[in-house]
Each structure stands twice: as C-alpha cells, then as structure tokens.
Amino acid sequence: MFIESVLLSLLCTSLFLGSMIGCVSAYCVVKKQGMLGDIMSHASLPGITFAFLFTKSSSPLLLLLGGSISALLSGIFFLFVKKIAPLPKNGALALSLSWFFNMGIIGGAIVQRLLIEGQGIVKHVFFGNFVILAAENTHWYMILSFLLSIFFIVTIKYQKVMIFDEFFARTRIPYLYYFEIIFLCLTVIAIIIGLQAVGILLMGSLIITPGTVARMITSSYEKMVFLSIIVSIFAFLIGVFGVYYFSNIPSGPIIALFPIILCIGTHIFGILYSSITGKS
C-alpha cells in the first residue's frame, strides 16, 4: 500500500515536472538560452552547499532557496559581464559557469570534510533522487510546476513575438523588459524544482534535449511546446520506473538518457528521411 502511494505520488510528480520542464526546454531552445539554463543549474550548487553549511538543515526548501539565489546571481553575473567586458556570449557564459561551479565545488568539499549530519542530501543534489522528492511533501512542487506550465502555455503568443522579433515586440508589448525578467525567473524556478529529480550535472541536458527533439520534429512553436512536454513527461516516467526497479541507480541519468536517445534517433531518422524523400 505504501509502495503504491509512493508510486502514485511519483507518477503525478512526473506529470507536472515533465510539463514544466518541457515548456521551459522549448522556450530555452528557441531563445538559444539552453546553455544559460545549463549554467544556471550548475550555478545553483554554491547556493545549496553554503545554505547547508550555514543552516545545517537538510530541508529541501531551504537548500533550493539557496540554489535559486545563486542560479539567479549567475544569470545576472553573465548579463553584467556581457555588458561591460569585450567578450563574446560564450566567453561570458564560460566565465559565469567556472566562477559559480568552482565556488560550489569548494562548498561541497567543505561539507564533506566537516562530516555534518545529513550531508547525503547534498550528494543527491549532484545526481538527483526522485524517490526523496516524492517522499517529501510534494504538493508544493506539483502546484508550482502546474502553475508554471499553465503560465508558459498561456503566454505562448508573447514568447513567439519576443523571441522571433525583439524590436517588433517592443512596439507591441509596452512592458517587454518585465516580461523577459519574469521568464528568466521562471526558468530559474523550473531548473531548481527539477534539480532534485535530475541533479545538477544532468539538469542542463534535460533543459536542452526535449526542446531540441521537438524542434527537429516540427516547425511550429506551439507544436514544439506540446512535443517537448510529451518527451519530458516520458523521460520522467521512465526515470520513475528505472528507480523503482533499480533502486541503487540515481534517477538523474535515467531521466536524462531517454531524451538523449530520442534526440539521436530523431536525427538519424531525419537523415534517412531526407536521403530517401529528398525533403528536409
């Protein structure tokens, strides 16, 4: 009975998390912010480790709050470097990643050395643990994921205008700047929520691959969001069953593996299709 309720909870969490990550993935891929999403997920590490060091609490809410702050700071740091330094976009991204991830590694090393009780939670943050996520009170995860997904779906038209033609968007959406900040914050929140299931190391992969698979299949942004959601949900479901049957394997790699296989498969199918039919 207990196992069944945990499994049901995991399935519901998969549905909502998958929807949210799918929306964010489609948005990040077309906005060419996949790399920024990856960096922000890595950059959450110093926030998590230092939140744990200072509070000695293994409460996921507290750790993820720390993670959110440092992820957001990394995004701001990237924008700041891009503005003041004569660096290309990739250079500014690399600088942000190396700075914040190094800080996180140092924090992680200190946590390990001090042997603080409950430090296992920090390890789970690296590779993800879906079972812990579901065993905790998952209602707020689900509600937040649901609200985020709804927001992303409702604002699809705004996203299209903003991403496709920024100058035009400025003439149509008077408060465009605030919209962009909202989307950046929502991306950070989605990454941080997904971290517990997928882990810091593989969250970037999950931000990029579902949207990429969807982009390879369709040429419509609406369909792309829908397909990206489907891919993400399936990835999480496979992760759930993977963890259920192979309890010693972390959930992150199982979840991230499915979209990667699908991405390679879609690419190969695309090559074969275009060589047979002559169409792209």
């Binding site: 033609d165 035009f168 003439t171 149509r172």
Partner: protein, 236 residues
C-alpha cells in the same frame, strides 16, 4: 529647415550622441500628414539612428519626438515599424501567415489565434500578393518575399503611420513595385509613411517628402529632382 508647422511627427530640440560622438545637434522639424517621407543620406550619416531615436529605441541626450502631439507610448498602436531584417531570428519556427497574425491588434486576445485575426492576416497577405506562400516557413522565403511579409504584418496592424528602415534593400524589382504601390495606396487613404531610403534614382518615384541627413539634418521638405541635385551634390 523649411517646414516647422505641427504635423504627424514633431521633433523638438532632438540631440543624439552615440559612443561619445554627437550624431545630431539640437534639431527640430515636423512631418505633415499624408506624405511619403524618405530619410536619405550617405552611409553612416545617421538615417537609422534618427528613425530609432524618433520611436524611442535610442534615448536622445535632449529633446523629444511627438506623434500627433502625443508621446509614443500613448499612440504606439497607431504606428507600425518595419525594421531591417537582420534584427530577426530567422531560425525561429514560424510561417509567413503566423508572422502576419502577430501584427493584428487583437492577436494577444485569448490563448488561441481567433478567426478574426486569421481573416485580417489573410487580407494583409493578399495586398502584398503573398497568400499563396503563406504556409511557408519564414526562413524558406526569398529576401523580397520576407520584406513583403513584414510589410503585410505592418499593414495588419492597421496603422496611421508606417515607419520603415530600408524596405527596398536587397529585394527584386517585382517586390519593390508591390511595396511601393502599397505605400502609395496607404498614403492616399490619409496615412503617412516615413522610410529610410538610399536609392537616389527611385526616390522621387516612391516619395514626395524628404529628410536629408548627414551629421545633422540638412533639409526637411518636399522632394523634387531639384532638391536631390542641390543637396546630394554636397552630401555625396
């Protein structure tokens, strides 16, 4: 400065500095309604800078631009802007039809694109003779077709003033004629067009008013062969 009467656009004491270089010293002029106005000048003269400053994309050091004696935020729905194509993400998954839908005022109403918006978009595409390839992806269109689609989007906005940045750059003669014809009809309906333009040979055919720019405003007024000879002799 031959024309200082209140018009559809009134520029008051506008001064612009970019990267420490003053592009425009305090300058004032106005553009009357019912004209096709070209902003002309040599490369790097500040034509696009002037256009972008007028619509608030570049912040001036001093001065302001009024449209119908109002700030742009109060009347932005009546103004359609067509930027240079290089500012657009061509890899974005969107069809020509979807792009034109974006221009319709009611586009943001509701989650789905309404049949009213679709009809308006079809009508706009029909004007620029693009309805047959409306379902093509935007990156599959030629330069001229892209420009016509962007003009269609501007038309779908049902504006009273159309601001264009080099609408004839890099397009074929067929597309150029369609756009020029559309602009003429648009102005004949009582609206106005302000466009950055660089071709001296077609200027008098497509426009009847001109702002000549070269490190400052050199002339604002009606466009004629005589004006081109007089001012462009010094400009080029």
């Amino acid at each position: 400065m031959k024309n200082n009467s209140k018009g559809i656009i009134t520029v008051e004491d506008l001064s612009v500095t970019l990267n420490g270089i003053t592009i425009f010293h305090p300058t004032a002029f106005s553009i009357p309604s019912g004209v096709r106005c070209a902003i002309m000048g040599p490369n790097g003269a500040g034509k696009t800078t002037l256009l972008k400053t007028m619509i608030g994309e570049i912040k001036p050091v001093s001065g302001r631009t009024l449209f119908w004696d109002m700030q742009i935020l109060k009347c932005y729905k009546d103004i359609a802007v067509v930027h240079q194509q290089k500012d657009v993400d061509w890899n974005f998954p969107i069809t020509a039809f979807d792009l034109v839908c974006m221009g319709v005022r009611e586009y943001f109403n509701g989650i789905f694109v309404s049949s009213y918006v679709r009809e308006k978009a079809r009508e706009a595409l029909r004007i620029v003779a693009m309805e047959e390839i409306s379902e093509k992806q935007i990156n599959e269109l030629s330069g001229g077709e892209k420009q016509r689609v962007f003009i269609a989007r501007a038309f779908a906005q049902e504006p009273k003033l159309l601001l264009l940045d080099e609408p004839f750059a890099g397009i074929d003669v067929f597309s150029e004629r369609i756009i020029a014809n559309y602009l003429k009809n648009f102005v004949d309906d009582g609206n106005a067009v302000v466009s950055v333009h660089h071709d001296l040979y077609t200027a008098c055919d497509y426009f009847d008013w001109v702002i000549i720019v070269n490190k400052g405003i050199r002339y604002v007024g009606p466009l004629s062969e005589a004006v081109i000879k007089e001012y462009f002799f010094h400009v080029y």
